[in-house]
Amino acid sequence: MMANKNKPKNDVFIIGVGMTPVGEHWDRSLRELALEAMTTAREETGAMRPEAVYVANMLAPALSRQSHLGALLADFSGMRGIEAVTIEAAGASGGMALRQAYLALASGMVNTALVVGVEKITERVTAEVEAALITSSDADYESIHGLTQTALAAMLMRRYEFEFNVPEYAFAGFSITAHANGAKNPKAMFRRPIKLETYQRAAILSDPINMFDAAPMADGAAAIFLARGDVLPSNPPFPPVRIDASATAVSAVAVHDRPNPLSFAAAEKAARIAFDRAKINQDQIDFFELHDRYSIFAALSLEAAGFAAPGEGWKLAESGAIALNGQIPICTFGGSKARGDTGGATGVYQAVEAALQLQGRASEIQVADARIGLIQSLGGIGSTATTHILSTVETL
């Protein structure tokens, strides 16, 4: 049985998770994808009914002409009458929805919540998806000039290479590691490992970003069921995962408005707050689910979270430190690069994957003795960052 001292009533736990495969789900709608993830997460709790639903999504209004997902999905999943709302923070929507649910539960106003991230990307052709994605940047001063998110990331990558004098193919390790992990994740969009030569031969999307530096955008839904310590089920089928810290911060939306574009200031701030709140340091983190929409984001995220000095994040890829058996494994289920980037749902996928690692349910991609995990989602070009630290609770 659980000792009371180990489950303070104000602590917030993940007690159920679910996710659909990421990919081109031509035959399935936004609501059907969401329902599958919500149902799986609820089934893991013994079909508990949450008091509130937090939906993470960024693109449904633009790509599916559908807003108001809180009501839509609560209704479609048979939960009319409960509290439900959509949380939007661009690519960080998933992390932000988790944050809002955490606040509600920690405050004691809500006892149980279901967080569901869903995105339906493939309703539209690439140019329209690009136009929808760039709405998370500055419309008057970035997007109007024909920018894309990939172009903004490419400019960061070029400047990074210039300032820190990094060698050619320095970022290859991020893509190779992601694909090695994704190959063993049954939910991943891409399930084949790649070689260095594959990366080197890849077509350029927006120089210096090549096809393997950029994550594919695809459809998917993921869900987590959260409960306060005082309403935990007594004999859960899977060990609850505790949220030890939740933090978020923003920086300028426009990249050109930042004092140092090569520093993800929001991510740095959110990570620092999270480490302080959990009272741990980087050495105690067993794995890091970062938001690798572009390989340059992986380098900048590692630097922002304190795992590498500015200009040296790429070295962790080159040395193998980010591999499953390395010093700081990242993107253990393939990350956005290989699992696929589901826009505003990404942060929820990260939380599901982290929970599976901490519960020892990651099978072939299990990080040995994973006890503390860090997850970080980014909105726009790192304008919003959400950081959570999750852990197993040994004595439960």
Partner: protein
């Protein structure tokens, strides 16, 4: 149609009019009314020279909807000589020509249009500095 949203910032688009902070003298572009350096109110207009150098750049082949006809095109972040960075397209330039640190100057060009019968949107782009003979 978004006529007002373009009309509203015509001084910025046509003449790089930003602000200068009356408290700490920081030059600000785009204008934002609150100085990012000192946090005080900054509403004094300041016209930038339009000269600067390329901070970074890239060429787009996969343009967003509305820009497909322009592709490929090169975009840059330009560090203005007064300090701020500004994002814009490079023009009058070959794909292989730009480099970090290249001196550039502002010119006014067509940025796009809102469909076949829509308004034309003009604004700043940057080109390599033309040498005077």
């Amino acid at each position: 149609m978004e006529i007002t949203s373009h009309w509203r910032i015509k001084k910025q688009r046509y003449a790089l009019v930003g602000e200068v902070c009356p408290h700490c003298a920081a030059k600000i572009f785009p204008p934002r009314d609150i100085c990012p350096e000192c946090g005080d109110e900054a509403k004094d207009h300041y016209q930038f020279s339009g000269r600067g150098e390329v901070y970074s750049y890239t060429t787009l082949y996969n343009a967003p909807a509305g820009y497909e006809e322009q592709a490929p095109y090169t975009v840059a972040m330009v560090q203005l000589e007064e300090g701020p960075l500004v994002t814009a397209q490079l023009t009058d330039i070959d794909v292989n020509e730009p480099e970090v640190g290249m001196p550039v100057e502002m010119v006014t060009r067509k940025l796009g249009s809102e469909g076949d019968r829509g308004i034309l949107i003009y604004g700043y782009k940057f080109r390599p500095v033309l040498e005077t003979a």
